[in-house]
């Protein structure tokens, strides 16, 4: 028989805070909304930025929100350029240590270049939700 009620973790535990958004003119937000709910149900605090974000605005949000990681979703071909710009801007404002992950339609040929830029996670069409959740969880306060 269960005799003990659940005890909340003492003090220093905190949900992972994950910024999720889309850059530029990309408008296919269904995927990112699905991921937002999935992560919420996995105990993540999702700071949801939606579509049409600027590079500067998203980098600023990562800082102000004290995000543990930044998740970008792309369905257009411009993702290499946008990702590079975002990582440069994050470096410029002293947020280069915040990991970046990509989701959406990402061509395997671009993976190496994205990794070189510093992208920590890439989740394309074949990725499972478990993989995404496990990666986001692993980006918590240990970094």
């Amino acid at each position: 028989m269960q005799t003990e009620t659940q005890e909340t973790p003492a003090g220093n535990s905190q949900p992972v805070r994950c910024l999720l958004g889309m850059l530029g003119t990309d408008v296919h937000s269904k995927g990112i909304r699905t991921i937002a709910q999935l992560l919420r149900d996995a105990g993540i605090e999702v700071i949801y930025l939606g579509e049409h974000n600027s590079v500067k605005g998203m980098a600023r949000a990562a800082v102000d929100e004290d995000a543990d990681l930044v998740g970008l979703s792309f369905s257009s071909a411009a993702y290499v350029t946008y990702t590079r710009q975002l990582i440069e801007e994050m470096n410029r404002i002293g947020a280069g240590d915040i990991p970046v992950m990509l989701g959406g339609i990402i061509h395997p040929d671009d993976h190496a270049e994205l990794r070189t830029m510093g992208v920590r996670g890439i989740f394309g069409a074949g990725s499972t939700t478990d993989e995404i959740v496990a990666f986001v969880q692993s980006m918590g306060r240990s970094r």
Binding site: T3, E7, P15, E45, V46, I47, G50, E65
Partner: protein, 312 residues
Amino acid sequence: MGAMADRVLTGDRRAAGRLISEAERREPQALQDLGILYQHGGHARTIGITGPPGAGKSTLVDALITCFRKQALTVAVAAVDPSSPISQGAVLGDRVRMMRHADDDGVLVRSMATRGALGGLSTAVGDAITIFDAMGFDIIIVETVGVGQSETDVVGHCEAVILLQTALGGDDIQAIKAGVLEIADLIVVNKKSAPGSDRMARFLRESLHDRPARPDGWTIPVLMTEASEDIGIDALVDALMQRFDHNGAEDRVSVTRRRQVAAHLMALADVEIRSLTQRLVSGRAAPEAWQAVLERRSDPWTLSAQLFEQLR
């Protein structure tokens, strides 16, 4: 010691963001930094915005930011959304409505989850206010979760509480039920182009007219806005300024300050009491007494009295 506080005082936004997270975790070091920052505060004007889900709270915050920025006032926002009681996760989506200020150095938005706190706020909202105040922001806006009728914690933290209503949210009776209506310093009927808005505003004015005068002598204005079109915002800001002037009068300052300190203390005490209570009821505090209840040799009333005797 106090290194984070020093960084925050120089306007380092990374440090400010980090310190809010540490305050949410109640890290002892963070509490020292907050103590230092508290001594540098007391200058910002604080506005609370509350109201039912879908009334347009985030959109109104966005419109207010635009108006304050035209007056060259800097604005920090703490926007609170609920945590899932099941997973502890959250989708914090208020920022989406404030995107036009994303590149503005004079605006800082922090999204916060309730993390189990009742009352419509995060426990660390008072701490976030302390940090923004010390950074020198002119205006601090606190946006609560979409309220029902008991989420009233915002009142203590903010010197001007706006209750946002629409004509779309239920009938007149909903509006006069006890709860959030009583905490408002200003009432705003948003989405004024919706049918019934004029009637709603009239009804609210009449309801307020029938109530006894407030002890602080403040008369609650009822205004109408269409926040998504920036309509009615100038008049609302004028009313907010009048509220600040009212609070700034000699005899009012200490009352407002006292109320803010009390709200901050209550939020901090809630955390302590909740963790104490959880420890007490977990069964670890008195395993034999627990076992007695399980076997019905004792009962929950007796156990409760035994456990909480230790607290008195």
